[in-house]
């Protein structure tokens, strides 16, 4: 289904389609594609068709009141959905059926959305390729030998492969933006606190944030409008008014100051990515933006800081998976401590264990000051860098990822090489600011069969998503050259 939310609503308004027809078409395509793309871990056929049928009767009035009435959506499988299995891409939650629904998902349902499936991800959202899923890798629809990015790879594929117009992912260090870049779709990580994390299985609680994928900026804005806002179930969700994001999309960026940090265009950046991102920045200038140089002087340290803080928080958060209250339990354990260790050994995959180990090390007595405390101090420096940069500009433009998509298996034996791919995205989570990835071209060199997508990352100041989305929208209005 190659339709935007607005186009589906136009079909409903004209009486040319019903939610049942649209939902069935989505499910049929998902089922046809899933063997090839492995984007879904659970397909919610019966539930989705039931929800759609209930809307068929009054869909023409519903679309006036509910922004996502009759719209099929896919949800990353680390958000709890009552009655629908939620695995986190892990064996340890392979049979877990949540007793409650995440707030962001509840808000989508209240806005009329229909959940067609739960999407594949790196186990516990730890990875940048979706290869770390316990249920096999998802594949890039532009070329199935390549990764779709991660960790929200399945949700990016769901939109890129025209299964659904919009989907939800989560972003701890780039897990929405990088797969959006690799799959050629729009992906938004909101400000930390903009969207409730209640019901999102925690990876790193000071960094995690839920956000949308879409084929275009307007649909991403529409999704944010629905999921944003304070939630009494998440004490870190912001009690700040949610502006009208759709109204903010004027396309007018005259005088908008776009900051370009040279630190993000140096060593390690693929030549073709650099050229496409610079061309994209030039297009923003053509539309009236003012390009200014800003500095993010500690860019070379961000991966080190991120992999200390994220793993430390993960080692603490994942302590709860012990085979007692939910999920997988190792059968053969004879004592309680053996039950914990065997359950976790059999239940977690290699990357999750590696990160728990690194985080445990960083927090352990004797190492805490040199590693965790040090990282938190450098995090303060990174936050200050952004505050300084935003004195001189309104948005910052960088590449989303340093390279185009890579082949499945290429980096899976070298965790450090994989981590270094996160250099432009992790710093945004550490600073808590919002950022969006939008397609800005394709790479001709990586894949002989078809060009693979490249993404432009635009970064905004805290809670300034309206301006950020409008900058992305203005860029999107430019005619695209291949």
């Amino acid at each position: 289904m190659k339709l935007t939310v607005e186009e589906i609503h136009n079909l409903y308004a004209a009486g040319d389609a019903t939610p049942s027809q649209i939902t069935r078409a989505a499910l049929d395509k998902i089922e046809r594609d899933n063997e090839r793309l492995n984007a879904y871990l659970t397909i919610n056929r019966d539930g989705a068709l039931k929800a759609a049928a209930a809307m068929d009767g009054d869909i023409q009035s519903a679309i006036k009141e509910k922004p996502l009435a009759g719209i099929p959506v896919a949800i990353k499988d680390n958000m709890c959905t009552e009655g629908i299995r939620t695995t986190c891409g892990s064996r340890i939650l392979g049979n877990y059926v949540p007793q409650y629904t995440a707030t962001a998902v509840k808000k989508l349902e209240a806005a009329g959305a229909i959940i067609v499936g739960k999407t594949n991800l790196d186990e516990f959202a730890m990875g940048g390729s979706t290869e770390n899923s316990a249920f096999g890798p998802a594949r890039n629809p532009h070329n199935t030998e390549y990764v779709p990015g991660g960790s929200s790879g399945g949700s990016a594929v769901a939109v890129a492969a025209d299964h659904v117009p919009v989907s939800l992912g989560s972003d701890t260090g780039g897990s929405i933006r990088q797969p959006a870049s690799f799959c050629g779709v729009v992906g938004l990580k909101p400000t930390y606190g903009r969207v409730s994390r209640f019901g999102l299985v925690a990876f790193a609680s000071s960094l995690d944030q839920i956000g949308p994928f879409a084929t275009n900026v307007k649909d991403a804005a529409r999704m944010l409008q629905v999921i944003a806002g304070h939630d009494r179930h998440d004490a870190t969700s912001a009690n700040i008014e949610v502006p009208d994001y759709l109204n903010a999309l004027t396309g007018d960026i005259k005088g908008l100051r776009v900051g370009v940090p040279p630190e993000c265009f140096g060593e390690g950046l693929d030549g073709e990515v650099k050229a496409k991102v610079e061309a994209a920045i030039h297009k923003l200038k053509d539309r009236g933006a003012e390009i200014v140089e800003v500095h993010l002087p500690h860019t070379k340290y961000v991966v080190a800081v991120y992999y200390l803080i994220a793993t430390a928080e993960a080692s603490s958060n994942l302590a709860r998976f012990d085979g007692v209250r939910y999920g997988f339990r190792a059968e053969e354990a004879r004592s309680l401590s053996e039950l914990y260790r065997c359950t976790r050994d059999e239940g977690f995959g290699a990357e999750v264990k590696r990160r728990i180990m690194l985080g445990t090390f960083a927090l352990s007595s004797g190492y805490y000051d040199a590693y965790y405390e040090k990282a938190q101090r450098v995090r303060t420096m990174l936050v200050n860098d952004f505050a300084e940069a935003f004195k001189k500009c309104d948005v910052i433009a960088t590449p989303t990822a340093p390279t185009p998509p890579f082949k499945i298996g290429d980096k899976s034996d070298d965790p450090l090489a994989m981590y270094l791919c996160d250099i432009y995205t992790v710093t945004i989570n550490l600073a808590g600011v919002p950022a969006i990835s939008i397609p800005c071209g394709v790479s001709s060199s990586t894949s002989p069969m078809s060009g693979l997508p490249i993404g432009l990352q635009l970064i905004g100041n805290h809670f300034d998503e309206a301006r950020l989305l409008n900058a992305a929208y203005a860029y999107e209005q430019q005619p695209r050259k291949p």
Binding site: Q99, N239, L358, G366, V383, F463
Partner: protein, 121 residues
């Protein structure tokens, strides 16, 4: 005693990393200690691969030592640019919760309102 042995572990660890002659900066024994703290039972193959991988990652992370952070405060909660009001306190009132039946619903083993585990004593 425990603190001392951990300090010893740390010194050994760092010395080994910074010694370019060393081919195995983190030994399997240290990996085993961390695994024990994390309640992970590793296989031999995992112990082997994690030893080299964690050493390489920690060596990379050690570049943070180039930065003088003595005058910098550690990041805590959120700084001024972000909304302090979002960390709102709330009234301490009882609200409906999941309830016992639902809470036990996903347990691998439960009986009479309790989670069952292997005997502890």
């Amino acid at each position: 005693m425990i603190a001392n042995s951990r300090r010893g572990l740390r010194n050994h660890f760092l010395t080994a990393i910074r010694n370019p002659q060393s081919n195995m900066p983190i030994t399997r024994i240290e990996v085993e200690k961390i695994a024990k703290l994390a309640n992970l039972e590793l296989t031999d193959a995992e112990r082997e691969s994690f030893t080299g991988q964690l050493a390489a990652i920690v060596e990379y992370i050690d570049q943070l030592n180039e930065l003088d952070t003595s005058a910098v405060k550690a990041w805590q909660t959120r700084s001024a640019g972000e909304a302090i009001s979002s960390y709102a306190s709330r009234d301490d009132v009882v609200r409906p919760s999941l309830g016992q039946q639902k809470a036990l619903d996903q347990a691998p083993d439960a009986d009479e309102g309790h989670f069952l585990v292997p005997r502890v004593i």
